[in-house]
């Protein structure tokens, strides 16, 4: 799977980081960094949860 972030929609809520910190990191500069653009299959549940929980619908998980 592939993690795609719309950085225009991303407002650094960091909800994704709370759910899948292995993949999403909002740093002290306030920006979101995607740590793994193609995370391993065992992270699917967390990453999909982050996609759904993103308050600005900025995350899309592509298969």
């Amino acid at each position: 799977m592939r993690v795609v972030v719309d950085f225009d929609a991303c407002m650094s809520n960091a909800v994704c980081m709370g759910l899948a910190p292995e993949v999403f990191e909002v740093r002290d500069d306030g920006f979101l960094y995607v740590l793994q653009e193609e995370p391993p299959e065992e992270l699917r549940q967390k990453v999909v949860a982050a996609e759904r929980a993103c308050p600005t619908q900025a995350i899309t998980i592509e298969d």
Partner: protein, 406 residues
Amino acid sequence: MGVGRSPTGKTDPLDRVVVVGASLAGTRAAEALRREGFTGRLTLVGDEAHQPYDRPPLSKQFLAGTWDEERIRLRVGDELDAEWRLGVRAVGLDTGAREVELAGGERVPYDGLVIATGAAPRTLPGVELEGVFVLRTLDDSIALKKALAGATRVAVLGAGFIGCEVAATCRGLGLEAALVDIFDHPLFRVLGAEMGAVCGRMHAEHGAELHMGVASERIEGDGGRATGITLADGTFVAAEVVVVGIGVTPATEWLAGSGLTIDDGVVCDETCAAIGVEGVPIEGVVAAGDLARWTNPLFGRAMRLEHWTNAAEQADHAAARLWSGPEVGPFAPVPYFWSDQYDAKIQLVGIPGPDVQVLEGSVEERKFVAGYGEGGRLVGALGFSSPRRLMQYRALVEQRAPFPPT
């Protein structure tokens, strides 16, 4: 009947689920039901004719004109396989016959029902004048945006989320903005006095004209057009555009006489099942979103949240409750909201409490995290432009950590 799985474990299918309300909570509940394994007939009823869309940008990016309608559409799964009744209003519910009554008299039967009709903005006399707006729907935002294009001064009644965000958006567009509220500080209800004052200073520094601690007496008009607001202290706040942002009330009028317990929302148990007038859950009926008043065991109290995150999360839980029955367990989230005003990101995990303490960062720079305590327990944390630091308190709130945190 009406439960997805029988106690023997044999699948007892829900054949017909009706979701009333087709915005965030309703569409998420529908998606969640399909994910749970529901293969029966799914109908969504929504009173707005638009394709489902996201509300938060209506006071920010959409109002400012940087995002269009396409951009705010809610992404609803393609495999939903549902019957969409958009632009159709539900007007009644018969829990005995298990039917939803639609405007025009049609009765839609269900064995599972999700109530997600949200909330409607409070209005005031004068709202019918040209140039006066509430802001809840896409149509409201389209109309307000058009009016702002021809205005120089905007008066915003109510310094809650909507009011504050509209004021900030107007300032960003170069308009004069006056913010009026009966409480002493913006966001007083959700942030309290000390933190509300930080928000007030931010608005003042960005050139908004604040009228705090004073009620509005009357929206004034001339020839059917708004000219401003007269406040209770006699001050006249001139404006070509008036935005009324004084809160919303849960949209429960259609449920009168249905057998559901209605008390500032649809009263639910811990699992999001709707409660009947005997105090017992009504089988096959759940509620989610702005109108659901449920008991959150994490805080040991009933609450009704108007937050985006709650609509999304509660919808998932309500769908699971409908599918699996009470064993799905309680809905015990750490509430979350955010508000973007000017260049500040305001976030709260948990709930506000009577005790406040700044935990890290700088209030003067408006880059800090403050904790809220109640009876020695951390119940919430507020962040100003500190998303990374703030998110770390979410787990502490969930763990019922002590306050002040050690």
